[in-house]
């Protein structure tokens, strides 16, 4: 996703003289060529995220379209109030590009993990929140937000995530994408979980289940129409995110379902309310929360099974 990001950004900078890029002293292997090619469009503001957002606001007030870049906790939490007051309140075209969704920075430890970012960014008025799930969604999103007048948060992964979407797919901010139709259960995935969701679909099919796969790349504004349609058509919905189950995709979908006339079986799969007490690879850390495909598959079967056996309402774990 990082490569797709910088490739598209380079194209945009070439096309539009208003675009500026600021990094908070990060971007090794990302901006190495870019900063040489476009030195007057690139600014390393140093390790000062609050200043980075304020400077971006000042540039945007003078008509620039700004992309700021850092690792997610630094780009979103350290400077949260600057984002709220300087960008959202003033409704400026500044796009915060956070790298390292979920446990991408696995063994770096909890300081570098991004498991609360979606929920806090989602609370901000005027903020658009986009969490691309593959390189194609990343490119499309990076391009689309240049033309959105207000601020955007773009949540990127870090690994070389594979492309999930088929050629010819249409990307629209605020619109979910049905990747595969099904009848038994809908897997709704966002960000770094799209790949795992796609793998889970294959596991479920092997067990005779007909799953539907949906990518919700835009968490805000949420595609309420699509979600209500799915809730009406399918008996079960599972949300998948490498993010806290509080306030992210699962919460956003739950809000829609709770207010809709349709009530399919529903389960949020995401990071539970905890910091990791042991460290390891991204796969290892995901495993602690049941985020790997085999684990997801089991939970989905359980959800559907419970429904088939008519056990009634069962508490979440």
């Amino acid at each position: 996703m990082r490569n797709a990001f910088v490739k598209t950004l380079t194209e945009l900078v070439h096309e539009d003289p208003h675009i500026m890029v600021i990094t908070g002293d990060l971007g090794f292997n990302v901006f190495d060529e870019f900063k040489v090619q476009y030195p007057d469009r690139y600014l390393n503001i140093g390790v000062s995220e609050a200043n980075m957002i304020g400077v971006a606001a000042g540039l945007a007030l003078e008509g620039k379209i700004v992309y700021v870049y850092s690792i997610i906790p630094f780009a979103t939490m350290r400077c949260f109030e600057q984002i709220r007051n300087d960008l959202c309140y003033q409704n400026l075209n500044v796009n915060i590009v956070g790298v390292g969704g979920g446990y991408s920075y696995s063994y770096f430890g909890a300081t570098h993990h991004a498991i609360e970012d979606i929920s806090i960014m989602r609370t901000l008025p005027r903020m658009t929140v986009i969490c691309p799930g593959d390189p194609w969604e990343t490119s499309e999103a990076v391009r689309a937000v240049a033309n959105l007048p207000g601020p955007t948060y773009l949540r990127l992964g870090k690994r070389g995530e594979p492309t999930v979407h088929k050629p010819g797919t249409v990307f629209t901010v605020g619109k979910g994408i049905i990747i595969e139709e099904g009848t038994d259960v809908t897997l709704i995935a966002t960000s770094t979980m799209l790949e795992g969701a796609s793998q889970t679909v294959q596991l479920l099919k092997a067990k005779g289940v007909s799953p539907m796969l949906v990518s919700i790349h835009t968490i805000k504004p949420l595609d309420v129409k699509l979600l209500r349609d799915i809730a009406q058509r399918l008996p079960a919905i599972v949300t998948l995110e490498e993010h806290s189950i509080f306030g992210g995709l699962g919460s956003a979908v739950a809000e829609v379902l709770a207010e809709s006339p349709f009530h399919p079986r529903f389960k949020r799969i995401g990071v539970l309310d905890s910091f990791p007490d042991t460290i390891g690879t991204q796969i290892y850390l995901r495993g602690k929360h049941g985020l790997n495909p085999e684990q997801i598959c089991e939970k989905v079967l359980e959800l559907i099974g419970i429904r088939n056996k008519e056990y009634g309402i069962v508490g979440d774990d």
Partner: protein, 275 residues
Amino acid sequence: MKLTLQELSHLARDIRKETLRIIADAKSCHVGSCFSCIDILTALYFHTLRIDPKNPPWSERDRFIMSKGHGVAALYVTLAKRGFCSPDILTHYIKDGSALAGHVTRTAMPGIEASTGSLGHGLSIGVGMALALKKDQPQSRVFVLLSDGECDEGSTWEAALSAGHFGLDNLIAIVDYNKIQSYGRIAEVMDLEPLADKWRAFRFEVRELDGHDFSALITAFSHLPLQYGKPTLILAHTIKGKGVSFMENDFEWHYHTPTSQQVEDGICELYQRYA
């Protein structure tokens, strides 16, 4: 604009009077913070800034950011006096349905460059503007008015570091150094001294002056930047509540709403002092 020192003094008196009135009328506060910077605002808006009230978004204008957003009443009154809006709308200050919020809001009236209110934001925004203007509008300058309490904020110094690093000589920061912050005296709460040296260490060219002396303000503002290749810092020594003796140097006037008697007494004193 070419006004005499006495004309500027009278304008500042009238801005103080109107500021006192709208704050009292709205049962609001921050009189002391407004009064300490009104002479600076008057010098900027009626002498220094290249602006056009008939064409507020004029691209070649100078920019002014009121980073001490709680001094908003003084800014609204100054802008109205300078012709950016009708003085009639000042009577709506912070009332139900008004656009005139109690901290600086960009959409409140024409001529406001940035919304502020949380301290430690304005200088960064000014750095961003100055960076953009360096390339796009080299004749334009960016003025940022900071409070002294605001110099407690780490983000102020992040911004200062970057202004010095980029050598932004089109950026002029002014500290309204009235020596009193929100809940006490600077020296007791969080001493800033040696403040001028701190800014110098961040590569600003510093001028200290009496922030109530129009001659000193105009002289400094007429020779900007103080040094090419460096941002400017005007350390304006001021008096909180300046102009009304019972408000001067008293941190409580950060919070008090003036009574109608105090408004009357205050205006009476303003006319005696600035006759």
